[in-house]
């Protein structure tokens, strides 16, 4: 009976780690497939628009904000 308890613990361990890893491995596959699909069929609108039109003032503002953010990030890293 007492040996049983340790064996139970080890069984729990294998089942538990197995489940956690299988869940995460499936999740990784699903993430990759999702990214592929999204990048292929639903690309980010502003990336697509960049080449199409010159861009209004709003887009320019966004670009400026992006540039400032990048500069701050760069400054912090450096």
């Amino acid at each position: 009976m007492e040996t049983n308890l340790v064996m139970e613990g080890i069984k729990f361990m294998f089942l538990g780690m197995g489940t956690v890893f299988s869940f995460l491995v499936i999740m990784i596959f699903v993430i990759n497939i999702m990214s592929l699909i999204i990048h292929k069929y639903f690309p980010e609108p502003h990336v697509a628009d960049e080449t199409a039109s010159g861009g209004s003032t709003q887009k320019d503002n966004k670009k400026i904000v992006a540039a400032i953010t990048a500069a701050i990030a760069h400054h912090r890293q450096g």
């Binding site: 139970e8 080890i10 538990g16 780690m17 869940f23 993430i31 450096g78």
Partner: protein
């Protein structure tokens, strides 16, 4: 009406006239009796000397030095004199130590201060604040015994989590999986301790203790209340205090298991993640959880709900409430409720010592497993992973990721690992929620 007021004043004057108490006592008694039927039941006039001794007996000093024989614990059980007297003094000193750690050392003050103050209140003799009718007891009943507060915290954590780093480098999720070895390794450890007769843990109790290795406070509380509520206090305190001590526990293990070259390893820049990916991800993971392990969905569901609100971008007000007011309010109640379990009779027991030891082992094993997993993954082709981010696989968000970053910067000041470490860190939250689901499902 006027008559009553006059009588009241008269009786107050009688209280003041100490010396003539005995002579006037009988007269005073009769006037008080007429005051109201309610007072008559609860209050009986006594000579002033008796009142003084009665009051002195009700002071904290006397209650601590000479505990009352009939005083019951918060759970309504009789307590030993040690737990009523010296034990309480020790626990109050322990809460002072927690105050010091929280304020002077900055150990998770947001949680440790409410917990410690709750502990201080729970150890007050006579007042019975942690009892079923004390306010700590009411808070405990309202949201801890039914697992509500941990779930609400999980929603808030979800709203604060950015899955971007994980989405841009999904394979780091495996590090978050490996770190869950802390849970199951400790489970075996606890069972072995029980097997050799050191301590009397059942399999359920061992499982509840081992979840400390998930390094996730809400998950620990969730599992402990489900599997062995009698150990909740020690498990929650161990879990939160070790989470606070992540910056002390982890670095030595990380340094011991990595070489200097590995620590200086740089990781490739994370790719941009589109808004749509971030929006789809929470629903996707929830779908997976529904299909694979429905037992984990209370935790994962709440977590993903918070995250979905945030990423939807159209409910800024709700998102703001989840991230700030709601999680702050719940943290106060959660802390006080957990603190109520710091009462001497529940905390100063031998099991607590084993839980504390097993908890720190769980953390250490989880950290080591994450680092070793990163080294193992580097044996395969593909983008290399700095093993220092492996330790972030224990969930403790974002503390564990910050530790990875800090240790990394000690060796190379320009090597920013924070965002890379956030990937395994949030995967660790998912991993420990899955592990929790497995443990619950095994006991169904």
């Amino acid at each position: 009406m006027k008559n009553i007021v006059i009588k009241l004043l008269a009786s107050m004057m009688l209280f003041a006239c100490v010396f003539s108490v005995n002579a006037m006592a009988s007269e005073h008694e009769s006037s008080v009796q007429k005051l109201s039927a309610h007072q008559e039941e609860t209050y009986q006039s006594k000579p002033f000397s008796q009142m003084i001794t009665g009051f002195l007996k009700s002071t904290g000093i006397v209650a601590l030095v000479h505990p009352r024989a009939d005083e019951l614990s918060a759970t309504g059980k009789p307590m030993s004199d040690f737990h009523k007297g010296l034990g309480r003094v020790i626990m109050i000193l322990v809460t002072f130590l927690l105050f010091w750690l929280a304020i002077a050392k900055g150990f998770e003050p947001l949680l440790l201060l409410p917990i410690a103050f709750g502990g201080l209140l729970a150890n007050i003799p006579i007042a019975d604040i942690a009892g079923p009718h004390g306010f700590l007891g009411v808070i405990y009943q309202a949201g801890l015994s039914n697992e509500l507060f941990p779930i609400i915290i999980f929603m808030g954590v979800g709203a604060m989590t950015d899955f971007g780093p994980l989405l841009s480098n999904p394979k780091t999720a495996l590090l978050g999986g490996a770190a869950q070895f802390g849970i199951f390794g400790t489970l075996v450890g606890a069972v072995v301790l029980a097997h050799y007769g050191f301590v009397d843990f059942t399999l359920k109790q061992a499982s509840a203790i081992s979840i400390i290795g998930g390094a996730d406070g809400p998950t620990s509380i969730f599992i402990a209340t489900k599997l062995s509520p009698e150990l909740l206090g020690a498990i929650a305190v161990a879990s939160y205090s070790y989470m606070a001590m992540v910056p002390i526990i982890q670095p030595p293990i990380m340094r011991a298991l990595t070489t200097d070259k590995e620590r200086k390893m740089r990781m490739s820049t994370l790719r941009h993640v589109s808004r749509l990916e971030k929006l789809v991800f929470p629903v996707l993971v929830l779908m997976l959880a529904i299909l694979v392990l429905p037992e984990s969905t209370p935790l994962i569901g709440a977590f993903m709900f918070g995250n979905f609100l945030k990423e939807s971008g159209v409910v800024e007000r709700l998102n703001d409430t989840l991230q700030n007011s709601l999680i702050n309010i719940t943290t106060i109640f959660l802390g006080l409720g957990v603190g109520s379990k710091l009462a001497a009779d529940q905390f100063l027991v031998p099991e607590t010592l084993f839980i504390m030891i097993l908890g720190v082992i769980a953390f250490a094993v989880g950290t080591a497993a994450g680092v070793l997993m990163a080294k193992f993954m580097n044996l395969f082709p593909g983008h290399k992973i700095n093993p220092l981010i492996g330790s972030a696989g224990v969930s403790a968000v974002p503390m564990a990721a910050r530790v990875s970053n800090k240790v990394g910067m000690e060796y190379d000041r320009t090597n920013m690992l924070l965002m890379h470490a956030m990937g395994p860190n949030v995967a660790g939250v998912i991993g420990s929620a899955v592990a929790a689901g497995v443990l619950i499902s095994l006991f169904q």
